[in-house]
């Protein structure tokens, strides 16, 4: 699944476009940054309620191409600017993490 496929099928508020041709390989759901550092794999979409600048640093280090803030969480200006600079797709959704995962599952991964 490419990022643009997911964005074309469901409604997200996009704050940073990023490289939407990038392939998503899975999902990581976590709000503890060290958990993501330890467990996330390159290419995964990250669902988190953390909306500050450090989220972008973790995404860069873990080669995460897309971040989704669930439940209506809005990213900080710093986070938006850093995601734009790093070419990371940053969106938010009014839906819960659970609902977003169901949506992602409907599109499916190319495994």
């Amino acid at each position: 699944m490419k990022i643009n496929t997911l964005l074309s099928k469901f409604t997200f508020q996009v704050f940073s476009k990023g490289d939407q041709q990038r392939e998503l390989t899975g999902v990581v759901i976590a709000d503890l940054l060290s958990f993501v550092m330890g467990q996330a794999n390159p290419g995964e979409v990250w669902l988190t309620v953390q909306n500050h600048l450090n989220v972008a640093a973790v995404a860069v280090l873990k080669e995460i191409p897309m971040i989704i803030l669930p439940s209506g969480r809005i990213p900080s200006t710093d986070l938006i600017q850093r995601c734009i600079a790093e070419n990371i797709t940053l969106c938010s959704s009014s839906r819960t993490s659970y609902d977003i995962c169901i949506m992602i599952n409907e599109v499916g991964f190319d495994r």
Partner: protein, 149 residues
């Protein structure tokens, strides 16, 4: 014979939570430019991020030094912070002395040292109360390590 290929040093400010990751993301870019394979760069990035977080959260700042030679990559972190009273306890996953305010930002999960240990071939921690801590992490290159061109 071991030859040094690259060396870089970063100064990390204590308490600067919003800029945590600056040193480690810069280091990751440098390693990619040097031609270090992705598999090793990813491990080094995790180690660098965790030492950087510890310097910011616990140590009041410090220095991160990265050294690449023909056979290994070394990350060294040195601080003059309060020291770690019980290193074995600090190594346990989930143990953290970070404040609630810091945890609310997603830091202080108590996974930093275990993330470092998991990604380093050798991890040495020396700490003296009231004087500071040094962390040395080494990743060895193998015969199968394919350098980027």
């Amino acid at each position: 014979m071991t030859t040094n290929i690259y060396e870089e040093e970063f100064k990390v400010e204590g308490g600067d939570f919003m800029n945590v990751g600056t040193a480690s993301t810069t280091l990751k870019s440098s390693l990619e430019m040097v031609g270090i394979p992705s598999s090793i760069t990813r491990r080094a990035s995790i180690i660098a991020y965790e030492v950087e977080m510890n310097l910011v959260i616990h140590a009041g700042g410090g220095i991160i030094r990265s050294l690449v030679s023909t056979d290994k990559l070394m990350i060294l972190a040195i601080d003059e912070g309060p020291g770690i009273p019980d290193i074995d306890l600090a190594m346990q996953e989930g143990y953290s002395t970070a404040s609630d305010a810091i945890r609310e930002l997603g830091f202080g999960a108590g996974m930093g040292l275990s993330n470092m240990k998991r990604n380093a071939d050798v991890l040495k921690i020396n700490s003296e109360m009231g004087k500071g801590t040094s962390v040395e992490a080494i990743i060895y290159f193998t015969e199968n390590t394919e350098w980027r061109k």
